[in-house]
Structures are given as C-alpha cells and as structure tokens.
C-alpha cells in the first residue's frame, strides 16, 4: 500500500523529469509482482511446471511481468526513439526487480510469515531461484532491467517477427499448463501416443517438446500470415453464411467430442460451464437487456433446485413424503421447477418495480439474502430441511438409461442450453426485447413511448428467473443433494461477473464469459481459491478498459464505437457467429 502512495507522490514531484514515466511504470509493475507473491498466487502456481525442471508457471508470470513492463513503457513513449526508450526500460525493469528484491530482503530479515501466510521460505527460494541473498538481490535487479529491455525489443520489432514469437510462447504455455488434460486426450490412438511421447514425459512438457511446439506454432503462424491478405472490407469466405454454418458445425462436433475424448473430468467442468451459461443468459435478459441490476439472482437458482429436489427426492424431505404428492421424475419436475421460478421471479419483481439503479441492486441483494436465510433457518426446516439439505435426489432416466455420468449430464445441459439460447436469441430481437432495451436506455422515455413498464419489467424478472430455475433444476440432479450453502450471494456475483466480462446484452458474450470465469479456474484446480479475487479484478478492469465486454453485442458495439471492424476476437465459436450473422440479417427488415 505504501508503495502505491509513493508512486502517486513521485508522479507529482517528478512530473517534468524524462524518467518519471519509467519510474512509475517500474513501481507499478514491481508492486504487481510483490502483490502476487504476498497474496499467495505466485507460491501457488509455482507448483505447476510449464516446462519440466526448467520453467514453472510462477517464473513464467514473473518473466511476463518484466517483459510487460518493457512493452508498456515502449507503448506509452511511442514518440521517442528506440535507444532512449531502451534506457528508460532498463530503469523500469531495474525498479520493478528492486521491489521484488526488497521483498526478499525483508522476508529474510524479519519473520513476516506470522502475518502474511504466503511469505514462507519456499516463496523466498522461488523468488531468489535458491541463490544466496547477496547474489539474489543484484540478480533480481539485473534480471528486471534485462527483461525490460527485451520487452522493448519485442514490442518494437516488426509485426511479422513479434506475432509468431508471441504465438509460439503462448502455444508452449498452453501445452505446458494444461498438460494433464492434453495427455489424457492424446492416449486414444497409437499414432498420437507416439507424438505425445515426443513432447511429454508423464510429469509434463520436456524442453525438447517445448522447442518442438514453439517451432511448429511459430512456423504455422508465419505461414498463415504469408497468405495474401484479403482485401479489407470484403468479407472472407469464413464470414459468409456457408462459412459460418461450417464453423457452427465444427464447434458443435467439437463440443460433443471433447468430453467423450477427455473423460468425465472435462465433462464435469463443461457441465458447470453450461449451468453458468444458462444462468448468465437469464441474468443477461435482466441486466443486459432490461438494465435491471439484480444481485439476488441466486434466489431463482435456489428455487429451481429446491423445487426439483422436493418433487423428486427419495428422502423424508420431499413432497411425496410430506404431503403425499406423487413421486415425480426429473422430466416432470423440471418444467414445474421452471414455472415456479417464473412465479417467484414475478413476485420478486413486484416490490422492487419502483426502485431504480443503485437502490435496486441493494434491494435485490437483500431479497436474495432473505431467501437464503429462510432456507437455512430451522423455522422452515420441516419443509426445506434447513442446513442439512435435501439428499437422495435421483438422476434423470432417459429411455431406461440413467444419466449418471457427468458426460451424459453435460449433454443434457448442452441441449437445455441450446434450447434456452434459441429462446434468448429470439427474445432479443422481439418486440419485448426492444422494449427492454428502451427501458434500459431511458425508463421515462420508454414509458412515454407507450411501453408498459410494469409488464415489461415483470417479464424480465420472470423470464430471467426461468433460465436460472432450469439451471438450478439440473444442478440438483447433478449433485443429487442440495444444501443452502450452495446458494450464496457469491453465485449472483459470479453470474454478474461473467456477463460483464463477456459483454452485457450479448449471447456469445455469456458463453465466452462462462468459459473464461468458470471453466478456466476449474481447469487450473489450485486456482480455485483465488477465483473471486480474479472476478473482482475482472470487474474493475473490464469497467475501466472495456466496458462493452470481450464479445459485445452488435448494438453495444455500434453505440460505443463508430465502426464495427475494430474488434479482434480470437477464433469466435462459430455457432455464435451464426447467430450474430442471422441477427444482423434480420435487422434491416424490421
């Protein structure tokens, strides 16, 4: 904290010094490195090797910070000649390195571990590369300076050099970090197993393997850029309708094949992603389209889950046992759960109809907390089982086959998500969807134009709740037992974060957001405990740098930028592109 204040003070004092930018950048990047170490992320990812015995993920992160400092200074001093920037970058890197060195010195001088739990001797060893202290401190400063200079070199090199190198590094990182999954997927045929043995040992990527991947990725990138660039403006074949369809087909086949090839763990991760996509689509109707910031969204998820559980469970806490209701199967219970969620959504919406903006967020959060408190309490325990939860929820049975495997349940989620996505997409361009957008942009004007605010808002709550209820219903059968602790406010924040990262009001954005915020932390298992830190940072950074999200909807994009071609999104999932294209074709006719 103190360091950050100094950086501010220094900025005032040295506003005219030619080095001030270099110094501030160095301090900022140094603080980032120190923060990552103290908060415990670096010690944690140090356990995961990118290249066996050569480079851990923590070291890769530190290298990236050093290079990033150089690249940043080169970008912010675009007008200066390379030589000058090089000198500046040496200072930047040295300062960043010095901050890390200071941390190491402090750790060795006093025992900080009793306060900061991550500052163990292992962390110190990681930062010093197990060198002695008198060598480690100068080494860190020098390494920072060299990395800073390298960062400038990389940033200033021509694009045809820089791009392949970066892509090569990314490929190595990807194959190294996700080695477990890739190895599992590669064991299916003999030919692939030979390739696997070439680049992997059982514990990870070998140095030779890394070199092979780097060369292949770099080469591929060079070859692909050498093709004559399509005349700008004219869409390439991939952007035509047929190309989009082909892309969509490839994506669907990949989605079906991936969990089959990669096994039940991936199936489980994808299933969770699917559930969050469902919830995200629901909240997207409320927040993205209608502009109603709802932080109690988890309540609908809970309603869906509890309804399904009460209707189907084979336990004393079910309607069958309590009220002599007939025992329903999942397929009957799911529509009922969705309908009850809609009813609850409307009931939830009525009291807060007249509340706007910030107050609405707090009011809905309060409503969500009320639902959780009631579910958890002993007062409601005779029906809802209190903190013990409802157990023994049967798995769905389809044509005599029990869908017990995560992969099979994933397909169920996929089908539900596809159906829900179709509805969400049709809603978006419907009269109701446009009414929502009008309400979002200006409630008073919308009302003046004859939009029935009550109806439109309640429909937003009700339909949004339907998606969450469906998601909750599947969640109940996925876990076969539900506890009130699964329905914390954190779930609402999670869903909010993913639609914001993906892009408010954008369906493909929901998918991208779920993959990035739910799938990725789930794959890097040890990252799990830091995921909410990651969400917090994502919310702040997205709001500051890219408020429209990673994959904004066409309307938003048009609102925020004058031209649409500015976005560069890596390899968009084709299904989603198909939707956008179809959407765009619909527009002029309206």
């Amino acid at each position: 904290m103190t360091v950050a204040t100094t950086s501010h003070a220094m900025w005032r004092k040295r506003a005219r010094s030619p080095y001030h930018r270099a110094i501030i950048t160095g301090l900022v990047f140094g603080v980032i490195a120190v923060y990552l170490a103290v908060v415990g992320i670096l010690p944690m990812i140090n356990a995961r090797a990118v290249i066996v015995d050569l480079l851990t993920m923590a070291q890769a992160a530190l290298l990236a910070i050093g290079l990033g400092a150089g690249a940043f200074i080169s970008r912010s001093e675009r007008e200066l000649p390379t030589g000058t920037v090089m000198v500046h970058s040496l200072i930047t890197g040295a300062i960043a390195g010095a901050l890390v060195a200071l941390l190491v010195l402090a750790m060795n001088a006093i025992d900080l571990r009793s306060i900061f739990i991550s500052l163990s001797p292992q962390t110190s060893d990681m930062l010093t590369l197990e060198l002695d202290l008198e060598y480690a401190a100068p080494m860190l400063v020098a390494a920072g300076a060299v990395l800073g200079a390298l960062g400038v070199l990389l940033a200033r090199s021509p694009a045809r050099v820089r791009k392949p190198v970066l892509i090569g590094c990314m490929a190595v990182l990807f194959f190294g970090v996700f080695q477990e999954l890739i190895q599992i997927m590669m064991q299916f045929s003999d030919a692939i197993t030979t390739v696997r043995d070439l680049i992997y040992t059982w514990e990870g990527l070998t140095p030779e393997g890394a070199a092979v991947i780097f060369v292949v990725a770099t080469g591929a990138s060079v070859l692909s850029t050498r093709k004559p660039p399509a005349a700008s403006g004219a869409p390439s074949w991939w952007q035509t309708r047929n190309g989009v369809l082909v892309k969509a087909a490839i994506a669907i086949v990949l989605l079906i094949l991936l969990p089959i090839l990669a096994g039940s763990y991936i199936g489980q991760v994808l299933m969770l992603v699917g559930l969050y996509i469902l919830m995200g689509m629901g909240l997207n109707l409320e927040v993205g389209l209608a502009g109603l910031l709802d932080l109690g969204f988890v309540a609908f998820f809970a309603v869906g889950a509890y309804t399904t559980a009460l209707l189907t469970a084979d336990s004393p806490h079910s309607l069958a046992a309590i009220a002599g209701f007939p025992h329903l199967n999942f397929w009957m219970a799911m529509p009922i759960a969705v309908m009850i969620s809609v009813v609850v959504g409307v009931l939830f919406g009525i009291p807060v109809l007249g509340v706007r903006g910030d107050y609405l967020a707090v009011a809905t959060m309060g409503l969500g907390e009320i639902v959780r408190v009631i579910v958890q309490s002993d007062a409601a325990a005779p029906l809802l089982a209190g903190a013990q939860g409802i157990l023994q929820i049967p798995k769905p049975v389809l044509a005599g086959m029990e869908l017990a495997d995560p992969v099979e349940l994933f397909f169920l989620t996929l089908v539900c998500a596809a159906v829900a996505a179709y509805f969400a997409w049709r809603l978006e361009s419907s009269r109701l969807g446009r009414a929502w957008m009008a309400v979002r942009d200006d409630e008073d004007v919308a009302q003046a134009l004859g939009i029935n605010l009550v109806k439109v808002k309640l429909l937003a709550y009700g339909l949004g709740a339907a998606f969450a209820g469906l998601s909750g219903s599947i969640f109940a059968v996925m876990l076969t037992s539900i506890y009130p602790s699964s329905f914390q406010l954190l779930v609402s924040i999670n869903v909010l974060a993913l639609i914001i990262v993906g892009g408010m009001g954008s369906l493909p954005g929901v998918v991208v957001g779920s993959l990035a915020l739910v799938g990725l932390p789930e794959l890097l298992r040890e990252f799990g405990e830091y995921r909410y830190l990651f969400y917090g940072v994502a919310l702040i950074v997205m709001m500051r740098i890219r408020p429209e999200g990673l994959w904004p909807s066409a309307t938003r994009r048009r609102e925020l930028h004058d031209f649409a071609g500015e976005l560069e999104v890596e390899e968009p999932p084709p299904a989603v592109v198909a939707e956008i294209a179809a959407h765009a074709e619909h527009r002029p006719g309206e």
Binding site: L293, V355, R356, Q447, Y532, G536, V537, L539
Partner: protein, 364 residues
C-alpha cells in the same frame, strides 16, 4: 445532471404505476403483512411473558452497541453518497481492513501483556492503526477505482464498486489466510457494571460511548471546519461548488478519508463485540449499514446515526419481540431476515428515509 438523476431515484415512482392496481394490491398486502407480524408478534410475546425485564434490557443494550457500529459505518456511506452519488459497495470491506489491522496490534499487545496493563494506551494504539489503515485504503480506492468513473452514468461505477469489494476481501484472504481469528479478550472488557441490579457489560459501555464521541467529532468537523463546509457544499451541488472555487477532488478525498476513519473505528468495535475477525466479516454489516443510511435519509449525517441505532435495536430486539410471539422456532437465526426486511421495506416504501425528505424535495 447527476443530481437530477439521483434525485429522481429518490422519489417513489409508485404513483406512475397506479393504473396497474394488481401491483398496488400486492404492495399493500406486503405492508399490512409486515405490520401484522410486528404487532401480532409483539402482543403475543408480551402476553406470553417469556422474557424478564433484565433480558429485555440486555437485548436493548446489545442493540445499542450494534447500532453504534452500524451508525459509524453508515456515516461513510451517507457522506460518500452525498458527494459522489455512489454506493461505496466496498465500504464494509474497508471496515474489515480496520478490524484486521487492529487485530494484529491487539494480539501483539495482548501477547506482551500491555493490553491488560494499560488499557487506554492500548486502545488508542489499536484505534489509531485501524483508522490509519482504513483511511489509506478508502483514499486509495477512491483514487484508483472510483475517480475514473466520476463522470460516467449508468451501472459502471456500481459494478466497479462491487469489484473493489471482492478485490479487498480476497486480498485480505490471500494475505492473512481464510481462517477466523479470535480477537483478544482482555479482562477489563469482560466484566460489567451493576446498575440497579442490572448487569451492563463494560464492552458495551466502551463501544457506545466512544462511538458517540467519534460521531460528535465528525459532526463538528462537518459543521464547523472549512473543509466540512466545502463538503456540504459539494454534496448540495457539485458544479456550483466547483464554480465557487472549491477543489472538488480534495473534498472527495477528504470525504473518503473521514468515512474510512469512521469505518476503521467501527471495525475495531465490531471485533470487540463479536471477538473475531475474518475476511468476509465486512459484507453483512456493510449492507445493513447501507440500509441504515437509507433509513435515516441518505446524505444526512444525523440521519445515518439515527438509522444505525434504530437498525441495531430492531435487529437485536426484533427476533424476541416480533417472531417469538407468532411461534417461530429459533427466532435468532432470523435476525438477518429482520434486518434485510427492514432494508427492503425502506428502499421500497421510503427511499428518502426519515430525515431525508426535505433534501429529496429540493433535488426533485
């Protein structure tokens, strides 16, 4: 412009929906239902007579203690909302940071025996460190997370504030670990005074009296100093204040610092009362204190104090008074239910609060 928008948000908009009587019916049912529960429960409890006078007294004392903590937190919300029209969602976590830093001082003082041998100095040290930490974090939050959104309308500032709240919580979790740490419990806090045969816990007296002193000092700062006057001017009309030569940036930083200081004190007291600190402790009191600020009339400093004490009392006395009477088992589990119901009822039916009416009218 921002003022007009914020002012509009303060006015109940139910009148515009009057064509749709179904909504009104439900809202009236809600009002009548809550009132019926309150009245019926009170009568039921009083008839049953399960609680003795001493127990009621304990509940009221606890309510006032809790209420003084809420009031201290609510002051930060109300002042920031006054100058920026922003709900500082991270304010509860700023309180948590104060409690945490106070904890490290308190536990080291406890270890050396200083906490027991000279309580006043020890308290001063704990409070000073907590106030400093919370102030620093509040000011940094403003500088790096809120200032860039000064002129942005819409949901972006609020979403960023939610992000800041998570960032702070998780940072503390990463720094100090996820476990619940127990706060030292020195002897001079544990004993109580005997007044007319009623036992008043000493910690309650300390917390309430110090909180009231802190609030008085704050009130004097806001009313009597030049900076306080500037602050009131900015919260009345930012643009006009800027034209009168007031450095709005400075005033906003000052507001955050004051709010942070109050939150730091609140954090230490909250930890004194509940004897534990952990990274998520700021969330619930934060939300409830926001409710208290709205209840008192957001932007009004006496209102925040009043709202805080009222909320604390209702939360403490409510489960016994309202819920026990209508025969709900284990009513204390529903303490939060009462607080959140109050919060929602206020937001729905009286968003301008108790003392905020005059102000809201002026802004409309």
């Amino acid at each position: 412009m921002a003022d007009v928008a914020a002012g509009r948000a303060l006015i109940p908009r139910l009148s515009t929906l009057s064509r749709f009587t179904f909504v009104d019916v439900i809202l009236w049912c809600l009002r009548i239902g809550v009132t019926a529960v309150v009245i019926g429960g009170t009568i039921g409890t009083l008839i049953k007579g399960r609680y003795a006078a001493a127990q009621w007294f304990d509940l009221v004392m606890f309510g006032l203690t809790l209420g003084s903590v809420y009031a201290l937190i609510a002051l930060g919300y109300t002042m920031v909302y006054g100058v920026l029209r922003l709900i500082n969602f991270a304010h509860g976590d700023i309180m948590m940071s104060g409690a945490f830093s106070g904890y490290f001082i308190a536990s080291s003082l406890d270890y050396s025996g200083f906490l027991n041998s000279s309580p006043i100095l020890a308290m001063a040290a704990i409070l000073a460190v907590a106030v400093l930490t919370s102030m620093t974090i509040a000011v940094l939050t403003e500088r790096f997370a809120y200032r860039p959104f000064r002129h942005t309308r819409g949901l972006a500032p609020l979403i960023c504030a939610i992000g800041v709240s998570f960032f702070l919580e998780q940072t503390f979790r990463g720094f100090f670990g996820p476990s619940i740490r127990s706060y030292p419990d020195p002897k001079w806090q544990a004993s109580g005074f005997d007044v007319f045969g009623l036992n008043i816990p000493r910690v309650d007296v300390i917390v309430i009296s110090l909180a009231i002193i802190a609030m008085l000092i704050l009130y004097l700062i806001v009313q009597k100093t030049k900076m306080g006057t500037a602050m009131r001017a900015v919260s009345e009309d930012t643009d006009a204040a800027a034209m009168m030569g007031i450095d709005v940036n400075k005033v906003i930083v000052f507001t955050f610092a004051l709010g942070g200081a109050m939150a730091g004190i609140a954090g230490v007291f909250y930890a004194f009362v509940f004897k534990q600190v952990y990274f998520f402790m700021g969330f619930q009191p934060g939300i409830k204190a926001f409710g208290a600020a709205v209840l008192g009339g957001i932007g009004s400093i006496p209102g925040a104090m009043l709202g805080g004490f009222f909320l604390g009392l209702v939360e403490s006395v409510g489960p016994a008074l309202f819920l026990d009477g209508i025969g709900i088992p284990a009513p204390y589990q529903l303490r939060d239910l009462i607080a959140f119901t109050l919060l929602i009822m206020v937001l729905i039916f009286r968003p301008h609060g108790i003392l905020g009416e005059r102000m809201a009218k002026k802004r409309a």
